[in-house]
Symmetry: C2
Subunit: 199 residues, 2 copies
């Protein structure tokens, strides 16, 4: 299958190990329209890969900083009995999270990508959280935190997007494209959380 | 009750007619943190009221333009039998939608506001869609369109936020505050869509 080959454990993009997203390619095309996502946005996302590739660790640090600052978010990386962070788990997840920045920037929207979005949703949801890395943490990330966190992902990206000296107008376009992609992905990730027939 | 007094039909903000949001004020405080929403964001939202108040109709036109451009979105304003737009319904909704711009800008987060967020969610969901205005339209807005549409609301606002000549840095702060508020509200609106225990 034409999908990323990496050595990251648990990164099952493009493999038969991930569930199939129960929405079609045609429905995905429709969904992009609901978010005003156009081919131009894909172009600005792709432009961002080069800008972000060398800043992956810095971005992860910003986001993990927010998580560790807030008990209700940190809990998702902690053993609920001991309140100790499961750091093996957190590190395994971080590698895939870093890779996600690149995948988002590449904006290659084929069936393998769609299916992996569903898988990412399942891995936040009680269906599959902890399963991939045999974690010992809280077993479910609430829909509310997953959605609200979109802002924590995208807003702090602006200065990083500006780091390579692109004109403000271009940075702004990259930033908006990231917002659109983030909201579209979070929408797909919600699939396991939504009541039958309501998605 | 200390809530907006208007003559807009069906605008039941602050009245006993709306359902109570089943999350507490303390949980709302927590949720704001998941979105990095701070008191500074509230200040920039409030600054935007003056900028947007005289552009409400223009904004509504932009958003409705997107809806009417896309059959899968227009369907939500159409009679599913005849595919005719229920224009009495659409007009009644538009008045409340316009008022929502002002309410979002005011950022007054008390119990009445929280409860009305729940009500707005219910009015998109099959629980209450069509009920308020006795509409004859499709009975449910899909979670996916409601979430994805956040981008259609916020991204086109940027030039409107700039209309009163604020410096780009200030416009940018207003824009980010709108994004955060939008994602937080969409999160609350999802409550009726989410499986028991998953929210
Ligand atoms: C909308 C913003 C979010 C983004 C972009 C995001 C991104 C990701 C990605 C890319 C992965 C790895 C998926 C894979 O296995 O390849 C992941 C997993 C994970 N994320 Fe998130 N995430 C978000 C929200 C959150 C929040 C709010 C939390 C909690 C603080 C969180 C905690 C986790 C955990 C614990 C895992 C591992 C799940 C498991 O496999 O056991 N994420 N996230
Ligand atoms: C996230 C973006 C959205 C925002 C900010 C938004 C905002 C609003 C507001 C403020 C109301 C009036 C609530 C009240 O009664 O006071 C409303 C109702 C409504 N919205 Fe949305 N909306 C969004 C997404 C959508 C989408 C994607 C559609 C479909 C194209 C849609 C169609 C409607 C309809 C048909 C109603 C009337 C529901 C009823 O009471 O029967 N909205 N919306």
């Amino acid at each position: 299958m034409d999908a990323p080959q990496t050595e990251i454990p648990g990164y099952d993009y493009g493999t038969g190990k991930v569930a199939k997203l129960p929405i079609s390619m045609a429905e995905w095309e429709e969904l992009k329209k609901s978010a005003l996502f156009s081919e131009e946005d894909a172009i600005y996302l792709r432009l961002s890969e080069d800008v972000l590739a060398e800043q992956v660790d810095d971005l992860l640090q910003v986001w993990r900083g927010v998580i560790f600052d807030h008990p209700h978010l940190r809990a998702y990386d902690e053993d609920p009995m001991t309140h100790e962070v499961d750091s093996k788990y957190a590190q395994a997840v971080a590698r895939r999270f870093g890779r996600w920045i690149i995948d988002t920037a590449r904006a290659k929207y084929d069936q393998a990508w769609l299916d992996y979005q569903y898988e990412i949703g399942l891995r936040h949801h009680r269906s599959k959280k902890n399963k991939i890395d045999k974690g010992h943490t809280l077993g479910h990330i609430r829909a509310r935190d997953l959605l609200a966190f979109c802002a924590t992902i995208v807003v702090p990206m602006k200065p990083f997007l500006a780091k390579k000296g692109h004109p403000p107008e271009v940075v702004s376009r990259m930033y908006d494209a990231w917002w659109k992609s983030m909201i579209l992905q979070a929408t797909l990730w919600m699939r396991p959380y939504i009541r039958e027939g309501d998605f």
